[in-house]
Each structure stands twice: as structure tokens, then as C-alpha cells.
């Protein structure tokens, strides 16, 4: 197990390096002088020169990269041109909001998706199965930003049950208040992922449910719930886990859109504003943090495989 985990961790290093090169290149793929793009045509020659020196743009590209990577590894993501603050400082506060949103949505998607999938499989072709798979199809096809707006219109304005924007009510900081604000964004973000997980769980459970050991479990007189959740689901879990891992990527990307809809003060909102202001250090930092998180989450999912199915060793 330890060798497998170590090998899997080592395999992530070249991917992370590749990610860092791509993120570094964001600024250099932009047509034209990055300093001019960032400061705009009205910038003075001195200001341009100062920024070029600050970003090391006067150095050869590979030296710029090595220097940038060295700084990143020490937690220095540079300075936001627009907000005039350290990028790592800006991201630190925002990242926790994105993480909360993504974690909440992941939890919701996994619980709803797995329960719906197992229930559907247990009652294949029943009305419940058809309704839940139709719901999954609709959920899968709903654009995440539109679903967010629909929930705002219905549960935010028409029947004002949940707050529609921000992370806290004005003047409040409590956890309960935050969780209350989290409901609509998390449901919005989770819906598509829950749909995919439900469909995958259903087909995966259907595949194992006809196996001999399930018949044996039933013959032993175990309750249907134990048969389904302890015997069938456990063996159907690998494809489900793969989908869950992929969905986390979808959730991290989708979070940008959901943050926009609900003014959730996360990293996505900061990133979009950074792009519109052509603030390259800020965008690079934000993209790097989210992409690196995704790589680490995938690593964790791979490690989980080995726990769920001890036969797995690469």
C-alpha cells in the first residue's frame, strides 16, 4: 500500500510541473507586451519599466519560469497589479470560500447520487427508477448558471426561504448563517454531478446485483438494505469513485459560474475579475491553486481506490 501511494505521489510531480508551465505561460501567450496589457495604453514609460522589472520580463523566458516557480514553491505568488496586494494573501481568504462551496456540493452530490442510483437499481424499471433517472437526465442537462438563477427566482424571491447572495448576512459571521447561505449555491453546483453519479451508480449496481454472491447474501436472510449497501455497493464502488473524482473537477470549474450567480466570495469570482482587469499575477495564482487542488484530489481518489479495492495496485 505504501509503495503504491508513494508511486502515485511521485507520478503527480511531472503533472504538477506541467501545470505550472502552462500557468506560467498564460502571461506569455498573450499577444503583445504583458506589461502594456496590464497597465493599459495610458501607462507611462516609467510605470511600464517598473512593472517589467518587478515581473522579471526583461529576463529570458526559462529564467523567468525558474524564478517564478522558486517563488511559488515558497508560497509567493506575486503581487496583484490591480489590487496592489500579495496574491497569496488574496487567495487565502477566497480559497476557503471556494473549498466550502465545493466540499458542500460534493457531499450533497455523492449522498444524493449514490442513494438515488442504488434505489433505482434495486427497483429497476419501476416508476421510482424512471422518475429518478428522468430527474437525473434533466439535472445533467441544466446549465449550472441557469439552475442557479432559477433557484434564486423561486426559493430566493418568489418564496424567500433562502438567501440569494453572499456568504453571510450583513453584520453576521456565524457558521449557521454561512451554511444557510450555502444551501442554494451548493444545490446548484451539486445537481449536475449528482445526476452523473446517480446514473453511474445505478448501472454499476445493476451489473453486480445479478452476481452469485448477492444471491448468497440474500439467501443468508440479510436485509435488502444490507445486501444493497454493504455487498452490492461496495463492489460497484470503483466506477462510482472514478466518476466522483471526475465530478470534483467539474465542481471546481463550475464553482466559478456558481460564485458569479450567488456573489459567493470565492476564488472564481476573483479570477474572473482578474481576467477582465488583465491582472496576470492574480489569474496565474488563482488558476494554479485550483488546478493543483484538482491534481491533489485526483491523487486522493486514486489512494481511495486502493482502500476500497485492495486488489488495485499499479
Amino acid at each position: 500500500m505504501t509503495t503504491y501511494i508513494a508511486r502515485r505521489m511521485l507520478a503527480s510531480i511531472p503533472v504538477l510541473l506541467g501545470v505550472s508551465i502552462l500557468v506560467f505561460l498564460i502571461m506569455h501567450l498573450a499577444p503583445g507586451d504583458p506589461a502594456l496589457i496590464m497597465l493599459g495604453p495610458k501607462a507611462t514609460a516609467e510605470a511600464l519599466e517598473r512593472l517589467r522589472q518587478e515581473l522579471g520580463l526583461d529576463q529570458p523566458l526559462y529564467i523567468q519560469y525558474v524564478r517564478w516557480l522558486g517563488n511559488v514553491l515558497q508560497g509567493d505568488l506575486g503581487r496583484s497589479v490591480q489590487l496592489k496586494r500579495e496574491v497569496s494573501e488574496l487567495l487565502a481568504t477566497r480559497f476557503s470560500a471556494t473549498l466550502l462551496l465545493t466540499a458542500g456540493a460534493s457531499l450533497l452530490a455523492v449522498v444524493v447520487g449514490v442513494v438515488a442510483g442504488v434505489t433505482s437499481a434495486a427497483r429497476q424499471y419501476s416508476l421510482l427508477d424512471r422518475v429518478s433517472m428522468l430527474t437525473a437526465l434533466v439535472g445533467f442537462c441544466l446549465p449550472v448558471f441557469w439552475l442557479g438563477l432559477l433557484l434564486q427566482i423561486t426559493l430566493g424571491y418568489r418564496w424567500p426561504i433562502f438567501p440569494v447572495s453572499g456568504m453571510n448576512s450583513p453584520g453576521t459571521t456565524g457558521l449557521l448563517d454561512t451554511l444557510w447561505h450555502l444551501v442554494l449555491p451548493a444545490v446548484t453546483l451539486a445537481t449536475g454531478a449528482a445526476a452523473v453519479i446517480a446514473r453511474m451508480t445505478r448501472s454499476s449496481v445493476l451489473e453486480v446485483i445479478r452476481q452469485d454472491y448477492i444471491r448468497t447474501a440474500r439467501a443468508k436472510g440479510l436485509s435488502e438494505r444490507v445486501v444493497l449497501y454493504r455487498h452490492a455497493l461496495r463492489n460497484a464502488l470503483i466506477p462510482v469513485l472514478t466518476v466522483v473524482g471526475l465530478q470534483v473537477g467539474f465542481l471546481l470549474g463550475g464553482a466559478v459560474l456558481v460564485e458569479m450567480v450567488f456573489s459567493w466570495p470565492g476564488i472564481g469570482l476573483l479570477m474572473v475579475n482578474g481576467i477582465l482587469a488583465r491582472d496576470f499575477p492574480l489569474v496565474q495564482g488563482a488558476v494554479l491553486v485550483v488546478a493543483a487542488s484538482y491534481v491533489i484530489i485526483n491523487l486522493l481518489v486514486d489512494v481511495l481506490y486502493a482502500f476500497v479495492d485492495p486488489r488495485i495496485r499499479y
Binding site: P14, C141, F145, W146, G249, F250, V283
Partner: protein, 292 residues
């Protein structure tokens, strides 16, 4: 959010049976009709639109659907929502199709070359693709827009580039399963050139999963393009693009919810139809996958 295409083992499953099987799936057939209608609207939409999509009329601001002369109401500048939707069909759906075509062309070429030739080129291409796939799709598209700058064309390019690894992977795995088949070996023994083998024999036999993936992907790319416009990174106001309309309408969500309902519904219908058709196609091309 993507679904896996069918995993064919190189056996050719296209042919007359596919259409017969597809015809039996009433949801797929209904979706085909919906998509045909959308296609027609994309072509003739601008000619049948009752108003100019950019024509403002401040005395008719924020009128609800059903207002005489404005079937789907008007927006904050008094522009006719129906006309904007009709004009936007070509743009919004067209971006999705074009982006898929671009991603497919580049991804399939890369996947074919990597899968068929193998060796160092394959290893290099696959490591590159691993890196691209280490980014969540939307984030990769956003990162590319960050480099190229916001705008409609750049957004389309970005979602297309972000889609390349997906097609390269599918093509490569399809090619790997076809490559070792006897008929390919026979072609090699006959002295066919690599190019001929790839284009005449490998590609047609690897095409089924690519077509299914592309059908499912068009909907995804339409949504992604609208999403980029919604974020302000794609098409810009006053362009009558569905994502822009959603983004504009958002500010009036309390007083005129139809401004967000209509364009969102349009995207949803197209994406739903594409998914139903894609599912139907997948089942028709590989009936073993039914119920999966």
C-alpha cells in the same frame, strides 16, 4: 460534464442496422426533430425575427411575455426577446458546433498519430494531455481566455482547445484497439502506406465512439460557451447571444424573470435534445451499452 462514449473493440458496428435501431428509440427520434428545428431556426431565424435584435425602444422596457407585438416580452432596453433569441440561435448553437469540430479535428489527428505510431511520440503526446486534463475543463477554458483576452472568438477557441485532450484520448484508445486487428496487419503485409492505413482503415473503424462523444459534446460546448459569455469572458453586449442575454437579464431577475428564463430554456432544450440523441446513438452503435 462529459460522459464516456462507447468502448468499441474495433468491430465495425455502423451500417444499416444503426439507423434502424436509432429509429426505435422514440426519444432519440423526437430529439432529432427538435435539433432539425433548431438547425432551421439557426439558418432562417434572422429572416423570421419580428424585430431588429438591437433595436431599442425605451417606452417598451421590460414588458412581460404576451405583450402585443412582443410574444416573449422585451428586455431592459425595450429590445424584443423573441427576435434576440432567434438571432442568437445561430451564434450560440454555431459556437458549440464549431468548437466541437475544431476540438475534434485537432484531437482526432493527435490521437490517431499517437495511437498508431506509439513510441516516443505517443508518450510525449499523452503526457501533454495528462497535463491538460489535470485542469478542470471550465478552468482550462478560462485560463486560455486569460491568455488570449476575453471575446467571442477567443472564448470559442478556448473551449475548443480545452476539448482537444478529450478527443485525443478517445481516438487513441479506439485506435489502440483497432491497430492490432488482423485486417490492419493484412494491409501492412500488402504494403499499404501508414497514411493510407490510418485514413482508410483505422479512422473509419475508430469513428463510432468519436461520433457519439461529439454528439454529447456539442451540448456541453454550447453550455460552456454560454457560460463564458455569462461570466463576461465570451460574447459581449449587445450581441444577441444566449449567455449574454442571461447575464444581462440577471440584473432584472425580480421584475422581469422572463429575461433569464427564456434564453436558459433555449440552451436547456438544445442540450437535452443533444443528450437524448447522443444516448440513442450510443445504444444504436453498441447495443451492449443500453442501460449503462
Amino acid at each position: 460534464m462529459r460522459q464516456a462514449g462507447p468502448d468499441l473493440d474495433g468491430e465495425r458496428r455502423s451500417g444499416p442496422g444503426v439507423w434502424q435501431r436509432l429509429k426505435r428509440d422514440r426519444w432519440a427520434v423526437a430529439s432529432l426533430f427538435v435539433l432539425l428545428a433548431v438547425g432551421v431556426i439557426a439558418v432562417i431565424g434572422p429572416f423570421i425575427a419580428p424585430h431588429d435584435p438591437l433595436e431599442t425602444n425605451l417606452s417598451m422596457r421590460l414588458k412581460p411575455p404576451g405583450t402585443p407585438g412582443h410574444l416573449l416580452g422585451t428586455d431592459e432596453l425595450g429590445r424584443d426577446v423573441l427576435s434576440r433569441l432567434l438571432h442568437g440561435t445561430r451564434l450560440s448553437v454555431g459556437i458549440g458546433f464549431l468548437a466541437v469540430l475544431m476540438a475534434m479535428a485537432a484531437g482526432v489527428t493527435l490521437g490517431l498519430a499517437a495511437g498508431y505510431y506509439g513510441g516516443f511520440f505517443d508518450a510525449l503526446a499523452m503526457r501533454g494531455i495528462d497535463v491538460l486534463m489535470a485542469f478542470p475543463y471550465v478552468l482550462l477554458a478560462i485560463a486560455i481566455i486569460a491568455a488570449l483576452g476575453p471575446g467571442l472568438t477567443n472564448a470559442m477557441l478556448a473551449i475548443a482547445i480545452a476539448g482537444i485532450p478529450y478527443y485525443a484520448r478517445i481516438t487513441r484508445s479506439a485506435v489502440l484497439s483497432v491497430r492490432e486487428q488482423e485486417y490492419i496487419e493484412a494491409q501492412r503485409a500488402l504494403g499499404s502506406t501508414n497514411r493510407r492505413i490510418v485514413l482508410r482503415h483505422v479512422l473509419p473503424n475508430a469513428l463510432a465512439p468519436i461520433i457519439v462523444a461529439a454528439t454529447l459534446d456539442v451540448g456541453w460546448m454550447i453550455t460552456a460557451a454560454a457560460g463564458m459569455s455569462f461570466l463576461g469572458l465570451g460574447a459581449q453586449p449587445p450581441t444577441p447571444e444566449w449567455g449574454v442575454m442571461l447575464s444581462d437579464g440577471r440584473q432584472f431577475i425580480r421584475v422581469a424573470p422572463h429575461l433569464t428564463l427564456m434564453p436558459g430554456l433555449a440552451i436547456f432544450i438544445v442540450v437535452l435534445a443533444l443528450n437524448l440523441l447522443g444516448d440513442g446513438l450510443r445504444d444504436a452503435l453498441d447495443p451492449r451499452l443500453k442501460d449503462s
